[in-house]
Symmetry: C2
Subunit: 191 residues, 2 copies
């Protein structure tokens, strides 16, 4: 998606060869007009999939998922990362290793919101090692729901997650695929 | 806001006299059509305030804030709850006591996204003790930005946060104000 690539080139900041800061428009400050264009593109890509639920994970996927859901006319569920008083009892859980935060955490989704009649599109802002997506796919599998695929804003294509998941047969659609980056040369996208 | 009150009466679940679960439409599964009506109402209430930034806190405020921002034609910033590799250096921070999670945590907003030229509307899903709002107001104050007020979906009016903040002179607009609740009689709203 050219619009997102251009925005990354204009406003993204590269730290070393691994960290791409897009927090001025994607995951700290959020440009909801850009999100609407992103949502429209996800709708184009998954138009024929009868999506009736969007699943994301807190926190930075939530805004993109909600605005995308307006194009699919369906609700969003966000997987929670820690047990709170307000989520009781019946939940699907999965373990996710966060490379950003350097720890393993549990994600959970209340069982009442996902079931065999659901066709689920997963939305997230970043794909690197694929750990979060694997956790979300596991939750969908536990629910007996149908996973139609994942819509990702920025894929670090030099990290193994995207290829690993595609080889397993999952449909992964990334709107901007970063081939390489460093502070001198900036970001290069996969053609 | 009648639509939200009716939805709480229909789909909310009361646990004891203190916990109102609205996770089927507000803060776990999210009804983005309802969010659009909520956003429209916040726009009506704060129409004359020249809002140019919306500030919320992760995680459950983000979806409501993003859809509300579409009516104000402005970006959203969400305050983060924990230090990550991807937020470096220059941040405003404040301490918030979470009664839901039973702990004190730091919130942070990157300095580059809030400053003296900003007129900020704070959006959140719940108001009970007011701790999260106080933290967000503190961040806005540190930035020298102008706080126009807070738009809240559900206020537990039997807890002290709303009255305490209004007495301090803040403009707090809550779309549904719960006067009392228990498992036998359900939810009663403030007239």
């Amino acid at each position: 998606m050219k619009l997102l690539e251009q925005r990354i080139l204009r406003d993204g900041k590269v730290k070393g060869t691994d960290i791409l800061k897009v927090d001025s428009f994607l995951n700290h400050q959020m440009d909801v007009k850009l999100f609407a264009e992103i949502g429209k593109e996800f709708k184009r890509l998954f138009a024929d999939c009868d999506v009736n639920k969007i699943l994301t994970i807190e926190a930075s996927g939530i805004g993109i998922a909600c605005i995308t859901a307006q194009f699919f006319d369906c609700p969003v569920i966000f997987a929670k990362k820690s047990q709170t008083k307000n989520i009781a009892g019946d939940v699907y859980t999965s373990k996710v290793t966060s490379f950003t935060h350097g720890r393993v955490y549990d994600i959970m989704v209340a069982k009442e919101f996902l079931g065999p009649s659901d066709k689920v599109l997963v939305i997230d802002d970043f794909l690197a090692n694929g750990a979060a997506l694997e956790g979300l796919f596991d939750v969908i599998d536990q629910a007996g729901a149908q996973l139609v695929g994942a819509g990702i804003c920025v894929e670090k294509a030099f990290q193994p997650g995207g290829d690993m998941l595609r080889k397993k047969g999952y449909r992964i659609e990334s709107l901007a695929r970063v081939q390489s980056m460093d502070e001198e040369h900036g970001v290069k996208f996969v053609d």
